[in-house]
Symmetry: C2
Subunit: 261 residues, 2 copies
DNA sequence: CGGGTAGTTGATAATTTTCAAAGCACGTGG
DNA sequence: CCACGTGCTTTGAAAATTATCAACTACCCG
């Protein structure tokens, strides 16, 4: 991947268009840009790269790449995955519309994970070279970034807890509940509610640390208990209370991880 | 725990003492304060709470506590742990001298994990109420915080990878190697090198997700292979290359996680 | 209609947990 | 200075969970 570190100077006739796209951006309130008032939106609008569409399966960036850009998800789902030498993959997390991903503690270091589009995606790429000075000069932006990174860390901790102290059933339930919550900002409550999660059993397994076979068996067991149905990315929650109980999750911790103040 | 949100006004006769303690602080270059030049050190010196000594085993803050303070470790080891209802604990990470811990994405939310002293510790408590305005006004400080939080997230991701794709042997080796690296800023190289890690087998197990019995067996197997010896917190690395190989770690990713730029 | 990906199912094997009990080390108080 | 208690560690055997391998099915897309 060779992506320019910073965008070329913006032609005058594009300034208005870029500003407008930022002002109408659906992700604005949840991504890094949140603290920028309308009057200051140009700071980001002028340095951002043009929004980028990629097909399902595309690699957004790869392990070992230099960190040239961070991204806001405008549409679609992204998986952040780490691969080992023997072809094993671990899904570290998911980036959903509105999420900001790709920031690294040490910008000179190569990336420790790659980002893969699970669906067709539309991304807003923010070049590192353009963002650095913004962050170094705007405390609100830097503070926002710190909160988003703390959120990332909290999600990773939660993922770790899930992995270490629950069995397959619990981990899968936890993953599903967390994703439902991120989609709707609420726990599933209505029996029969349907969620579209663009996940294969293999991806679920890479997230929970199980073989796809075992994910299949676990989901079937939960289905047999009348808890849910999962077929080809379509999750039907038949017994929300049971699913939430299996996940061992309360609304509070999940809610705390949504909108950092 | 009822800790004041912000420190009381500092008596004049203490200003010099506080400034001096910050200027000679051993953790200064690695914690949040790093970007503050000597001339600006008062910003932190005047809001910090007096350094606090706690005995081994003390709870620094507990799950569900309000987030009133963050901490820099001056001396000793701290474990960040999450507990579930049934008494199961997960060690999310360790804070070593120089590390900054306790920041949360949403300061209004109760803490999602607790912090426990593994040894007698000396901490520098930074009250949230005092830090907020500093972070909101000093971009360098906010940027530093963002990097430290990204570092926390990267460590959590690495922990997750370790947990998901390695067996007990690999995870334990990984943990030991990572801690050695954090202590000395280098991979163990000299056969026979000794590291003092104030860990019990139970704590190692809570970090790697194993029972203490299995940790014991795994360590003994590694010892039988001539790789290491671990007795009561004293790790002797007999065959550094073998240990590092078992950990499946290269210096680069570890180094990248030390000193964010 | 055909090819390929995704999911299913069953049998076997490996890893790890759990339970129970005993051994060891160290600090405390006599 | 020694005995004793407590917490950490070790050891063994049985049981549980999950991976692996292999074959087979179902579904989607062209």
């Amino acid at each position: 991947m060779d992506v320019p570190l910073s965008a070329p100077p913006v032609p005058l006739n594009q300034v208005a268009a870029r500003r407008a796209s930022c002002l109408s951006c659906p992700a604005r309130s949840s991504t890094v840009c949140a603290p920028l008032p309308d009057a200051a939106i140009d700071r980001v609008a002028l340095i951002k790269n043009p929004s980028r569409r990629l097909p399902a399966g595309a690699t957004i960036y790869a392990e070992q790449d230099q960190c040239a850009e961070c991204f806001t998800v405008l549409e679609g789902w992204v998986a952040l995955v780490a691969a080992n030498d023997e072809g094993g993959r671990v899904v570290l997390g998911f980036a959903l519309p509105g999420d900001y991903f790709g920031f690294v503690p040490n910008p000179l270091a190569p990336r420790a994970h790659s980002a893969v589009a699970l669906t067709p995606v539309r991304l807003c790429p923010l070049p590192r070279g353009g963002m650095q000075p913004l962050i170094a000069s705007d405390p609100a932006l830097a503070k926002r970034l710190a909160h988003l990174e703390a959120l990332h860390a909290a999600r990773a901790d939660e993922h770790l807890v899930s992995t270490v102290q629950h069995d397959a059933r619990g981990r899968i339930a936890r993953l599903l509940v967390a994703l439902c919550f991120r989609l709707t900002r609420a726990l599933p409550a209505a029996p029969g509610q349907v969620f579209l999660l663009p996940l294969t059993l293999a991806v679920i397994g890479e997230s929970t640390g199980h073989s796809p076979e075992h994910v299949s068996r676990s989901l079937h067991r939960m289905a047999a208990e009348g808890m849910l149905r999962f077929r080809r990315g379509r999750l039907t929650v038949l017994n929300p209370a049971a699913l939430i109980a299996a996940a061992g999750v309360t609304e509070r911790p999940l809610a705390d991880m949504l909108a950092p103040a």
